[in-house]
């Protein structure tokens, strides 16, 4: 029978990557391309219903554009801090990496707080709930799914910070994790730019 080693730390089977891109990174890109369709369907859904008239209140009548502009700015800045975290790690500056990761997570959390506040206002001030009409439903479904994505991103950022703190720094391979989280984070950010433009700014 063949000499099979299930645990021995010998070189991995011919581990070349045909494209030269790390498996995990390529996988993340592929996954994100699917996510574009996920949000594409949600945005289309809102574009269909958002402009229609219903007897009850619809989102476009109650947007607080200045407020959402500020929280959008906060989210945009988090992409900058994400890049700074990546840059710090490439200089092997672990302390700065943690700081920028934490800053990114905090900015994401501020954005989420803004979204919670916005939903709260819409529900209590204007009485627009998930079930008020299809326009409201599609608004909550879209922004809710985006918010969920941001929340998952924040958790991933915090777990990177925790990992770094526990081990006194991120290794080479965990640096790849940071890149993956970065890709994901930028994606969530880009999607928000589209949502903010199409759903908030161009909506009437």
């Amino acid at each position: 029978m063949a000499d099979l080693a299930h645990d021995a730390p010998v070189a991995h089977h011919d581990e070349h990557e045909s494209t030269g891109i790390d498996n995990r990174k390529l996988g993340m890109w592929v996954f994100l391309s699917s996510e574009f369709l996920f949000f594409g369907a949600l945005i289309t859904n809102y574009l269909l219903y958002g402009g229609r008239d219903f007897e009850s209140v619809v989102p476009r009548e109650i947007y607080d554009i200045p407020f959402t502009s500020v929280s959008s700015f906060v989210l945009l800045m988090s992409s900058l801090t994400m890049v700074l975290a990546h840059d710090a790690l490439s200089r092997r500056d672990q302390e700065a990496t943690r700081t920028w990761l934490l800053a990114t997570a905090m900015l994401g959390a501020v954005f989420l707080g803004g979204q919670v506040f916005e939903f709260y206002e819409f529900i209590t001030e204007y009485g627009m709930t998930l079930t008020t009409n299809p326009a409201a439903s599609s608004f909550y479904l879209l922004t809710g799914f985006h918010g969920t994505h941001v929340a998952v991103g924040v958790l991933m950022l915090l777990s990177l910070v925790g990992m770094s703190r526990r081990q006194g720094g991120l290794s080479e391979s965990q640096g790849m994790n940071l890149e993956l989280v970065g890709l994901y984070w930028h994606f969530v950010d880009i999607i928000w730019i589209v949502i903010f433009t199409l759903v908030y700014l161009l909506s009437d």
Partner: protein, 673 residues
Amino acid sequence: MTTTASRPSATIFRRPAATEGFWSWVTTVDHKRIGIMYGYTAFTFFIIGGVEALLLRIQLAQPNNEFLTAAEYNALFTTHGVTMVFLFVMPVAAAFMNYLLPLMIGARDVAFPRMNALSFWIFLAGGLFLYSVIFFGDVTAPLGVQGVAGNLDPSDQTLLGGLPDGGWFLYQPNAGPSFSPGHAIDFAALGIQILGIASLISAVNFITTIFNMRAKGMRLLRMPVFVWMMLVVAFLLLFSLPIIAIALFMVTFDRSFGTTFFQAASGGDPVLWQHLFWLFGHPEVYILILPAMGIVSEVLPVFSKKPLFGYAAVVFAGAGIGFLGFGVWAHHMFASGITPVAQAAFGLATMTIAVPTGIKIFNWMGTMWGGRLRFTTPMLFSIGFVAMFVIGGLSGVTHSIVPSDWQQTDTYWIVAHFHYVLFGGAIFGIFAGLYYWFPKITGRVMNERLGKAHFWIQFVGFNLTFAPMHWLGLQGMVRRTWKYAPEVNMGPWNLAVTIGAFTIALAVLVFMFNWIWSRRKGEPSGLDPWDARTIEWTIPNPTPEYNFAKSPVVHSLDEFWHMKYTEDEDGRAVRRDDAEETLARLEMEGLNPTEPIHLPAPSYFPAMMALGLPFIGYGIIYHTALWGKGLIVLGALITIAGLLGWGMEPLEEPHEAGHDEPETADAVAEEHD
């Protein structure tokens, strides 16, 4: 650089070590074993879906039959469709993909072995969840937004009547809360959602595998056509599944949380559902057929002793089908009142997509033309595929003529058409593949006499079943009808159809007997039972656990063929003098690796993560009850615990940690749920 602290490796996070028995299968990350599990599970669902079809046919065997109630009939044609599409043809394609794809590109496993296991377990969880409606579909819970709990219609309360009954397409608002009270549709919507997660994960995994794990020299245009077709399928899954995910979320919100996305009475738009469903549903059709096209593109050249005619044309036609497949969805909706411009555009696009399909048909015929044909069982099934698919394709292209389509809509003509492409096409192709690659899995060849009997019985039964549906459809017999009057004179052909259906059942029994018998008593296959062309046959049968003892280097398309054959002055293929020596050498080398081979270690956590999803599903359905909310939390905890364990368990190579897969990608994939 900072030192990397070793990962926590407490005993509970030890990688499992069983190599035999139940736990070795639960924890396996070997793509071959996962493929086998996919195959057997899918075939079990094939039997279930087939029995459902037989029950439908008994009901329709004669006019005014009283075998099934209307509710049972509705439930059975729905579950027949859902089962065959989502629980048989898709997963059986995943079985082929899992088992063969790494072998065909010269890899020892897929890019993300644990995610591969996760796909299978989520698929299994989704299938069981869907059918668990039988047990849990009628649990008493406080009234939700639907205003009804459980099934009100007494005729629904039979065992079969309680199955989902909205058609596999779950058209709204018929499958919405007002017209389909009870929980059956919820099980279908959430079940398909769970199955979608499984398919999405494997799409990501296999695209990465195909792009990144190819052996040296295996350029993209040296890959076997089967690999190419699976690449197209993976992209179709990648781009169409998120759309159906959103659409199903909207259905679940409508049914469970009181939104009115598709409820016309409250300002919703039912046609949006049709757009979203078919924007997924039409690429889905190609997801079902392209794997079979890949299989016959492997089988036909081998038994014609010729290279595939126009390899590049077949590859690009497949990719073309993938692109165009996203642009024809509204031909399912010509009767829904879309504008004339849209009808003209989609009619035209539908004609266009016949072109790449036609290219393939010509290439397959060109492959056989002038070849030295050997009519083995896989060859017969492949030829059957081509012939039946032509008929299905021709009846399909009639749908591009809009006024004609209006007449055909919701008649048996449609039923005949899609069974010719999905049964005559996909399932014939799948059987060709099962006979062809059986030696790869077992080291034995399936019995040829039984195989040929299987083919001919199935071929006759198939045509007896589905050809008369064309005439019934043109005669005006409507789809999904559970009864017809004697005066319409549809009895004789319907009886013929029913006899045909039982003939197919007989053929499948012959196949099952052959499979079981040949596993034990079949002729040993040796290395190369078919005089094959591709590199999965350069390794011993059954495939060793490590696949390739030595990573192959590929020099050309049909690498294995060129190891055995050369050309004479007239350009004819001549077997090399040393071909037998080559085979003997390959066999010997394949069984005796010269260096220790490292394989990805098994893991408990993929199965554990999948286990949580059905609980979340039950919780959403019964969220009005406190225990329902509890189930959501419980399911989420199981899945998150699985995810944490996944992240914490030791990787095989501490010094090179993370060549498996990242926790992060899975965390992201998870949140599609």
